[in-house]
């Protein structure tokens, strides 16, 4: 094993890690504000992938331009999800909410199986095989674009959270829901906006990977477990933590791919996950409790 291999897989891991980051940012945002672990996050990401796929194959829209469709669609799905399903049980024990989102995830995934069959679908772009070369290293254009898109959206979410009034209200509702309510913040409204933003993040992540990842109904399952690991690693509820955690898990996965065969490549990240859960459940960055 020479150094080039290692640097190459570090690079690949970092690029995919950017997408993990975005999925995890949405998950962490939702958890931070509502204390809901959204098991359906992978299903929402899958919906984003299908949005891109259908926009591409029916309307011939470039996959990256389709975020203009994905973002509003997933935002609305997220808002409806929160308003009609999560909201009635927002005060129930945490595991009830976990089960509810699991139910929604089963429903959405198999609704897609029912409507559009479980077949693998592919978004074929003309620039599919474009690579940049730096000496022995190569970077796929698609993966690079996915990384940039994910970083861009994660950065926008970060700006919204830190620089706008809405972001201030969201942070207030995270820290102290009752206090926020007393200060005249409509916490229920913050809840559904947050869920919408979280779902849109998952959707954009779906769009970002659609050009180089097969699109099929249960594809979200791969990402949602990874996203849980990222969120736990970064600290439940911490957006910055989720961002850094995504890059770490991305690299850990591709390093695992060097040393272990096939599906075992996730082993390193799982072990990191278990160690973090056991010894530092608040995550590396530490969370807003």
């Amino acid at each position: 094993m020479n150094l080039t291999y290692i640097v190459q897989s570090l690079l690949d891991g970092l690029l995919l890690g950017g997408v993990y980051s975005l999925v995890a940012v949405g998950l962490s945002l939702i958890f931070g504000v509502m204390k809901v672990i959204n098991f359906a996050h992978g299903a929402l990401m899958m919906l984003g992938m299908y949005c891109t796929y259908w926009a591409f194959s029916l309307l011939h829209i470039d996959p990256y331009a389709s975020i203009l469709i994905t973002i509003p669609v997933l935002f609305i799905v997220g808002v409806c999800f929160q308003k009609f399903l999560i909201n009635p049980i927002i005060d129930a024990p945490e595991h009830n909410q976990l089960l509810l989102t699991l139910g929604v995830s089963l429903f959405l995934e198999n609704l897609v199986v029912f409507l559009w069959s479980p077949d693998y679908r592919v978004v074929k772009t003309p620039y599919e095989f474009v690579y940049f070369y730096f000496g022995d290293l190569s970077i796929s254009l698609l993966r690079f674009l996915a990384f940039c898109l994910a970083m861009l959206v994660a950065f926008v979410v970060y700006l919204v959270l830190t620089k706008t009034d809405l972001g201030k209200a969201i942070r207030a509702a995270t820290e102290e829901p009752r206090g926020a309510l007393l200060m005249g913040i409509n916490v229920r409204r913050i809840y559904w906006i947050t869920f919408g933003i979280g779902a849109a993040c998952a959707g954009v992540a779906g769009t970002a990977v659609a050009p180089f990842f097969p699109v099929y109904p249960t594809v979200g399952g791969i990402f949602v477990i990874t996203a849980f690991m990222v969120v736990v690693l970064g600290g439940m509820g911490s957006v910055v933590g989720a961002f850094i955690g995504g890059l770490i898990i991305g690299v850990a996965d591709s390093m695992g791919g060097l040393f272990f065969p096939g599906a075992m490549k996730h082993l390193i990240s799982f072990i990191i996950f278990i160690l973090i859960l056991l010894f530092r459940p608040t995550g590396l960055v530490g969370s807003t409790k």
Partner: protein
């Protein structure tokens, strides 16, 4: 899902002789059922019994002791693989293998339990750690050639043999699973009535308060884990012998964890009859929709999803809680 004293389970108080007689008659009556049913129904009954056993396994930990597991497929898979590998490589009868399955399942359960409960991981964190362990074994079983990798293991059929737990006919499995279910129901009923059952409830309702009152919560969580892991791994062994085939997805997969936990949750977690009721409702539903929509095999999962959402929102105490509420209402009106 948390309630008052009233929800000590449907059979919580001592049975009077009338109720005992009814339960006894139903149990005896069930022994004649396989001769009157079509084979397809015998299969469904076996699935109902088997998933009730595993549902009880989940129930003792998730329903009574309140430690929500998202990865009971871990124990199921360990049970299925242990006895199957022992049979294939050493020709060991599954009747003996089942003890090893149980042992390995319990060891794994105690290991995971020790790690998580010692650090006070509960709620969603415990759920995720169980999921993570199940996924690790899923990955290992997919990649490791010696355990059949992704193709799984085929158990060679050597004709009907009681000693090897292999039967061409479905009826023997009907009786095995029926007695196992009766045993599991009896065990859970006895636990519920015992002091230990009350400790489990105390741990579930308020772990800190229970600890303050002198209940060793760590110990009781570990006991619940032991029973839970044991029952579920036994279920895995029987399942493997019944189907004569196992693969990583159907044993360690996330969907299998869902199958195991969804029955007690929908029936009524923390009750003796909840897992049975959930199994009675969901198993035929799953089998029939699977038959009716063969090309769209996911439809039953879609229905699972809808039922799960509806039950969580409208019937947080499960079907049993719903039935009890109706009985109370009728009684009050009759008075």
């Amino acid at each position: 899902m948390h309630g008052n004293q009233d929800r000590q389970g449907y059979l919580g108080r001592a049975l009077n002789w009338k109720k005992g007689l009814i339960v006894g008659l139903i149990f005896i009556g069930l022994h004649f059922l396989p001769w009157t049913l079509a084979p397809q129904w015998v299969h469904i009954m076996i699935m109902i019994f088997l998933f009730t056993v595993m549902g009880q396994g989940w129930n003792i930990l998730g329903g009574y002791a309140g430690q929500f597991s998202f990865g009971h497929a871990l124990f199921f898979g360990l049970g299925a693989y242990t006895s199957t590998l022992m049979f294939i490589h050493w020709g060991l009868s599954p009747w003996i293998g089942i003890f090893f399955s149980c042992f390995i399942g319990i060891m794994m359960g105690l290991f995971v339990g020790y790690l998580s409960f010692r650090y006070g991981l509960t709620g969603p964190f415990f759920a995720l750690i169980m999921l993570a362990f199940a996924e690790i074994f899923h990955m290992i079983s997919i990649s490791w050639k010696a355990v059949g990798a992704a193709l799984g293991l085929l158990i060679p059929l050597k004709g009907t043999s009681i000693a090897l737990m292999q039967f061409v006919d479905k009826k023997p499995f009907y009786f095995i699973t029926l007695w196992m279910m009766a045993g599991a129901l009896y065990l859970i009923w006895r636990i519920e009535k015992s002091r230990m059952g009350l400790y489990f409830l105390a741990v579930r309702e308020d772990s800190d308060a229970a600890e303050a009152l002198g209940v060793n919560t760590f110990r009781y969580k570990m006991i619940a884990m032991t029973i839970s892991a044991g029952l579920t791994s036994i279920g895995g062994t029987i399942y493997a012998q019944y189907l004569l085939y196992i693969d990583p997805d159907m044993t360690f997969g996330v969907l299998n964890s869902v199958e195991i936990m969804i029955r007690p949750i929908i029936g009524g977690p923390g009750t003796v009859l909840g897992p049975l009721l959930g199994s009675l409702v969901l198993t035929p539903l799953a089998e029939f929709t699977r038959l009716a929509f063969q090309s769209y095999s996911g439809v039953y999962l879609m229905i699972y999803g809808m039922i799960l959402v509806a039950v969580i929102i409208f019937l947080p105490d499960g079907l049993i809680g719903f039935a009890k509420a109706i009985i109370h209402k009728i009684r009050r009106e009759a008075r």
